[in-house]
Symmetry: C3
Subunit: 139 residues, 3 copies
């Protein structure tokens, strides 16, 4: 069994954004040389997500609006977590809806995807450096 590890770095200038990281993840897989196995991609921070969905900008604005409805940023005083001096409690909630990680099958050296699957980094508390972990195991 072989394994491969790589970190991706992000510094999103806005509070929230969705970034397509599929090419970077495929590049990690290429570099690993692993042909059959499983690939894990996870946010290393607890106010961010990694998820798989469609690369369509209208949908991303729908996600953003919807998550604001489910877990609004303001008023920040509505969250106990923000009494610690943070203002990002909503980001911890939004990340649970969108998920921390994806696990992807590796087949014949490729991300084994359906026709529209793309991997996204979801930032909910940006304007600082954040990291995503890519780990591949297989042969």
């Amino acid at each position: 069994m072989r394994s491969f590890r790589r970190e991706l770095s992000f510094h999103i200038p806005s509070r929230r954004a969705f970034v397509n990281i599929t090419p970077q993840v495929q590049a990690c897989l290429d570099e690993s040389g692993i042909r059959e196995g499983l690939l894990l991609v996870n946010a290393m921070h607890i106010t961010a997500s990694v998820f798989i969905n469609d690369d369509e900008s209208g949908l991303h604005r729908d996600y953003d609006r919807w998550l604001e409805t489910l877990a609004p940023h303001e008023p920040v005083e509505q969250y106990e977590h923000n009494r610690t001096g943070e203002d990002n409690a909503d980001a911890h909630l939004k990340r649970q809806v969108m998920g921390r990680e994806v696990v992807i099958a590796v087949t014949a050296g490729k991300l084994d995807f359906g026709p529209w699957e793309q991997i996204f980094y979801g930032e909910f508390d940006g304007r600082r450096k954040k990291r995503v972990l890519v780990k591949v195991i297989g042969e």
Copy 2:
């Protein structure tokens, strides 16, 4: 390390449904011959889910009603994604709540489950052919 890959196909006649796919996934595992490892089951489409919960029809109707409350199908104009000619933006949202994939421990050739765990395919935009991927790695 060994690996095994299989696709399951679905053509759900309604827009939304939940289908118990546990027997089909166990059949894949049997065919793989893998006794110890990890098994990934994921929707290959971004308006569908694979998740683990209870095989109880009342609960499934509760899920359906609840997801409609969180992300209603109508009015379809409320979603920017639907300006692309689609009417399935709600399905992309519902799928994030229910999840894309499950990873299951394989122990002694079986799905290593608690007493009530069953695997479901969750369709949120049916009436077309869709696929689920089963990938097993181990020994």
Copy 3:
């Protein structure tokens, strides 16, 4: 390839609670002797979660209040599932938001975590014995 399996047991005296299980999961990993691979932690019951977030008690109270807003326990009659004699339909819904499982990279014998990542058992229908599965594969 090596594999390791262990169950953790919980008997939460209240209906709902969040328990930091990171030390127990790291102890499983230590015992496994696996240095590179993937580690799965999943709830074996369908009214409980395993998730990764922050060990901050205010945030946990925010999660609890938020989940009650999204899927209230009462009135129990609002859920068809509860006509089976159960009163825990809301727990099945809450668990979908928070997730069943996490998959964690194992690197140099450690849980490969960002600075604030901690693993939690989320109980939504306690006052009974429940189990969590830890499965590690690698080398």
